[in-house]
């Protein structure tokens, strides 16, 4: 109340709890990267911090975009991203080799990253446009399935199993929230359970299949593909309750943990900060996601509701898949831990999601005053 009197209204309207949480996670990530580089700001910590600042500003700018704009750009944006994905695939085919990004001269764009929020927006827009009584019919099912299958299939071809899973997950989440009959999900889950062993055997690339098989038994190949999982578990397990102390993680500093600054950054953190650091980080992410789900509950219309919950769940997928991967509960699929792992793409995608969520949140909190 008192803060409300001292600080100008535009600032008090910002979701401060969430922003503090966000900065805490991002800041902690920078600290971990500082240690991973052997106590040095270069090559990771400094540029990560800089990018975090830039993308955070971008998110704040996005938050001032009126929420209804997202509904309007959802389908065109989705279409453009899909074309870009196709282009990437074609270019890759021409140049003879798989490729994930478009080189525009100034920046390299990775269309599959943009697809993560846009699949959510597009599906949300679709169910917003769909007459409610169509939701439980076939007409409410196949267009959404097609919306999901096209980008997921293209990304699978790259091949990027992790991103394809996230796109599918994001789309399915919207379908679930939009009210597609529950039995379809239960049936789908059962079918999936049957399909996975077949897919593993016949659809996946050799290296993807190996990753899955070795995930099931990492010790079978301790120096090959199972090495990542084994070393990651060793890093986390050896950290114990309070960790080995900042800068003392032998697994990462002696290079035993591969990708200790990107996909396996959680293991790097856990080795030095222990269970306490890990639980705090998990808690922070869960609070962040809960805020996103809260935005969805407050959202003024169907599109905003679906979009907000979907975006929050996209962040959740990032966190959940990455943590399951580093703790040996899922195969290594190359999903980074958002805001903590070194790398701009995931950071950008996450903050785009946050920006849109803030924009929806602004619409939600403004509405009652009208």
């Amino acid at each position: 109340m008192r803060i409300g009197e001292l600080v100008p209204a535009p600032l008090t309207r910002l979701p401060w709890h969430m922003l503090v949480l966000l900065c805490a996670i991002g800041g902690f990530g920078v600290v971990v990267l500082y240690s991973a580089a052997g106590g040095s700001l270069t090559p990771w910590a400094y540029s990560q911090a800089l990018r975090f600042g830039v993308f955070l500003c971008m998110a704040l700018v996005l938050s001032y975009v009126p929420a209804h704009v997202w509904g309007r750009v959802a389908l065109p944006g989705y279409a453009i991203t899909l074309v870009a994905l196709l282009l990437v695939e074609l270019l890759g085919a021409v140049r003879g080799g798989s490729q994930r990004w478009l080189d525009l001269g100034i920046i390299r764009l990775q269309p599959s990253e943009f697809m993560k929020p846009f699949i959510v927006l597009a599906c949300a827009k679709f169910y917003d446009l769909l007459p409610p009584n169509e939701t439980r019919r076939l007409g409410g099912l196949w267009p959404a399935a097609l919306l999901i299958a096209m980008p997921a299939g293209l990304v699978m071809l790259q091949p990027d199993l992790g991103t394809a899973l996230m796109i599918t997950g994001g789309g399915l989440t919207i379908m679930f929230l939009a009210g597609v009959p529950l039995r379809l999900f239960i049936g789908g889950a059962l079918a999936f359970a049957l399909f996975v062993p077949l897919a593993v055997n016949f659809l996946l690339h050799e290296y993807q299949r190996n990753r899955v098989l070795i995930f099931l038994d990492p010790e079978s190949d301790p120096l090959g593909t199972g090495y990542h999982i084994s070393q990651s578990k060793i890093a986390i397990g050896s950290g114990g309750l309070f960790g080995k102390g900042f800068g003392n993680g032998s697994q990462v500093h002696l290079d035993y943990l591969p990708e200790g600054h990107t996909d396996f950054v959680f293991a790097t953190m856990a080795e030095e900060w222990g269970l306490v650091g890990g639980l705090l980080l998990i808690l922070a992410f869960m609070l962040l996601i809960r805020w996103g789900m809260g935005v969805a509950q407050r959202a003024p219309n169907r599109f905003a509701r679906l979009a907000a919950a979907g975006l929050a769940t996209t962040i959740f997928f990032y966190v959940a898949i990455n943590l399951m991967m580093v703790m040996g509960l899922a195969p290594v699929v190359g999903i980074p831990l958002p805001l903590v792992s070194f790398g701009g793409s995931a950071q950008m995608t996450t903050l785009i999601c946050i920006g849109i969520l803030m924009s929806i949140d602004r619409a939600a909190t403004r509405q009652p005053r009208w």
Partner: protein
């Protein structure tokens, strides 16, 4: 109509959204809890296991091979010790470009082509972190030249350790054995990582092998923090090795070396036993290999040379060589006669042989009337034929066994051979044939089926000399076993008097009398047929070396109160008095008058062409020359090198 439906439906949709969003949120929270639980499991419940794994990642444990226990002689002089060794190994796992590394090492260490070939061969068979030896025994300059370039040579592991050293070289080869790197089979058997440590050697033969346990010691460990790529970061604490126990032998190092040198270029063995306690003072077998070279691993060429040598340098003849004792067995027959109650003064007339049925058994001379004393001194076959036949084989065999023949002794030497003390039961079992009188006659003079090793002959001599059933010992801490032989002092005195006569009276070995004031040696010569030559002809100079008779000699000194007993066997030496007795005389002389013994050896060695080491080196060089000469491919390199050098000057 559609209006109200739509409104209801939208409300239902919102309700459905809230419900499903709650389900989704619960699902997310559930997975969040699962992740937290998983993390708790890894970090708390499994913490100990993963901490160990992290530690074993971080710390590279290098075993330091323990310094091998010394083997010293009775006075504490080293027979086998350790010297500092600079060595270079290759770790196959870490090599990036094997050919490149080999090329550089060849240049830095000036390796011979056949050494490079061996390394290349070993590398092909090796896997993982099992080191492959490139060179051992390097001098400091060459070692250092590799050490300073180590960062550019991935996979090359220089190390500084200890190597086995045998100061007396070939003189102790058969006695001590040698050490060598563990073979792949040995590692598979025990799976001890020490076996893979560079520089670790274990006993491969002789006492080095049988005393392995007490000589080995416990390895030390060097702990180094390493990165995943194996780059050392810093040294952690190091545990020192525990050297193996020093083992003292009954051997007299000086005498051992003297005996080996005195055997010269002959193929033979000499064993000296202390009559007080059964301790073996010397046990030499020649020719021999150089155990120092063997311990470093020898080349194909050296091995070929040793294998092809008809003097069998790879066989320890003192315990593995079996020879008919010939006349050296007569003192044993004599104790059997006395024990059987034969009157020592009984006379047998020697007319140059003995008639058994229609077969004549020859004697080397026509000795005339012989009693026991003279029969020993003159080595009269006729006497022992007649008397041996009278008492029968069982009594002779019993006496031979009592004197230690046909037995294996509790010595730390692998593969002793028993030899044979034949009797009726033995022949029945072995050949399924009846024992004949002819067999008894042959056995009485140490021929026929009788087979003994030089060590057994020395034991026999020590038992006759001491009157005790001495059991030979090699380890200084082995118990002294020497119960009474069960032969009366009077009988023993008669036999010893006969042996005194052999050397110091009218006997067969008077030329080998001990030239030491106040010390007389008693002995018995023997000349053993290698193969039966028709018409009673002996294997002398007129037959090829390998068919010549063996020369044997057993002896003890001083005669009146025996202190030392010895046996010398010279393979194909033609006669005991000519080949073996002089060797035994010089060996015993060494014990009483060292300068005199060394003086006579020096004279002999001059005639032979230098001392043991020089002669062995010359022999090897000659062999190498002979092997390499017909191969034109091997010569161009040295020629080119010489030319280049000449041009440089």
């Amino acid at each position: 109509m559609s209006g109200p439906v739509r409104i209801v439906s939208e409300a239902a949709q919102t309700f459905s959204f809230s419900r499903r969003a709650a389900m989704l949120g619960a699902g997310q929270a559930g997975i969040g809890l699962l992740l937290a639980g998983r993390m708790g499991w890894l970090a708390v419940a499994e913490n100990e296991r993963y901490s160990l794994l992290a530690e074993s990642n971080r710390v590279n444990l290098t075993l330091i091979p323990p310094r091998r226990g010394w083997i010293v002689d009775r006075q504490g002089r080293p027979i086998a010790n350790n010297r500092t060794d600079f060595r270079i190994d290759l770790i196959p796992e870490r090599i990036e470009d094997a050919e490149q590394v080999l090329l550089r090492l060849t240049r830095l260490l000036s390796l011979e082509p056949d050494q490079v070939e061996r390394v290349r061969r070993d590398l092909k068979d090796a896997r993982g972190f099992t080191p492959v030896v490139v060179a051992e025994n390097l001098d400091w300059e060459r070692y250092a030249s590799v050490v300073v370039r180590q960062p550019e040579l991935p996979g090359v592991a220089p190390s500084q350790g200890y190597a086995r050293n045998y100061p007396a070289g070939a003189a102790v080869a058969h006695l001590i054995g040698y050490v060598g790197a563990a073979s792949a089979e040995q590692y598979q058997e025990v799976k001890d990582p020490l076996y893979l440590a560079p520089g670790f050697k274990l006993g491969k033969d002789g006492m080095e092998k049988s005393l392995e346990e007490r000589l080995r010691g416990r390895p030390g460990a060097k702990r180094v923090e390493v990165t995943a790529r194996g780059r050392p970061v810093r040294d952690l604490e190091t545990r020192r090795d525990v050297p193996g126990a020093t083992t003292r032998l009954t051997i007299h190092a000086g005498l051992q070396e003297y005996a080996a040198r005195r055997l010269g270029d002959e193929s033979g063995a000499a064993v000296v036993i202390d009559c007080n306690d059964g301790g073996i003072l010397a046990m030499a077998s020649m020719p021999a290999y150089d155990p120092n070279a063997f311990s470093d691993g020898i080349g194909q060429l050296e091995w070929g040379m040793l294998r092809d040598d008809d003097h069998l340098p790879l066989v320890n003849k003192s315990v593995q060589g079996l020879y008919p004792p010939g006349s050296t067995f007569k003192p044993a027959t004599a104790t059997a006669l006395l024990a059987a109650g034969v009157d020592p003064e009984r006379v047998v007339y020697c007319g140059g042989g003995y008639q058994l049925g229609n077969r004549r058994f020859g004697c080397l001379g026509r000795h005339g009337p012989m009693n026991l004393h003279r029969a020993i001194a003159r080595s009269c076959n006729t006497y022992f034929y007649a008397m041996g036949r009278e008492i029968g084989i069982e009594r002779i065999a019993a006496a031979a066994r009592a004197l230690g023949l046909g037995a294996e002794y509790p010595l730390p030497i692998p593969s002793q051979r028993y030899g044979t003390v034949p009797d009726a039961v033995w022949k029945e079992r072995k050949y399924d044939q009846q024992w004949t009188q002819a067999d008894t006659l042959n056995t009485s003079i140490g021929q026929g089926y009788l087979l003994t090793s030089p060590l057994q002959l020395a034991v026999m001599a020590s038992r006759i000399a001491s009157g005790r059933a001495l059991v030979p010992r090699l380890l200084a801490d082995a118990p002294v076993v020497g119960p009474s032989l069960g032969v009366s002092a009077e009988d023993l005195a008669r036999v010893r008097a006969g042996m005194d006569e052999v050397v110091n009276g009218a006997g067969t070995a008077v030329r080998s009398r001990l030239q030491v004031e106040g010390v007389r040696m008693g002995g018995k010569t023997g000349t053993a047929q290698v193969r039966r030559i028709a018409g009673g002809a002996r294997g002398g100079l007129n037959v090829p070396w390998k068919y010549r008779d063996h020369g044997l000699f057993v002896c003890f000194a001083p005669v009146d109160n025996p202190r030392y007993a010895a046996a010398v066997v010279i393979e194909h030496g033609m006669s005991g008095s000519g080949a073996a007795a002089p060797v035994a005389r010089d060996i015993l002389t060494y014990l009483y008058d060292r300068p005199k013994a060394l003086e006579s050896l020096a004279a002999l060695e001059k005639g032979w062409g230098g001392d043991l080491r020089t002669r062995m080196a010359a022999k090897e060089a000659a062999y190498r020359q002979a092997k390499l000469a017909p191969d034109p491919a091997a010569t161009p390199t040295p020629v080119a090198a010489t030319t280049a050098q000449a041009a440089g000057e």
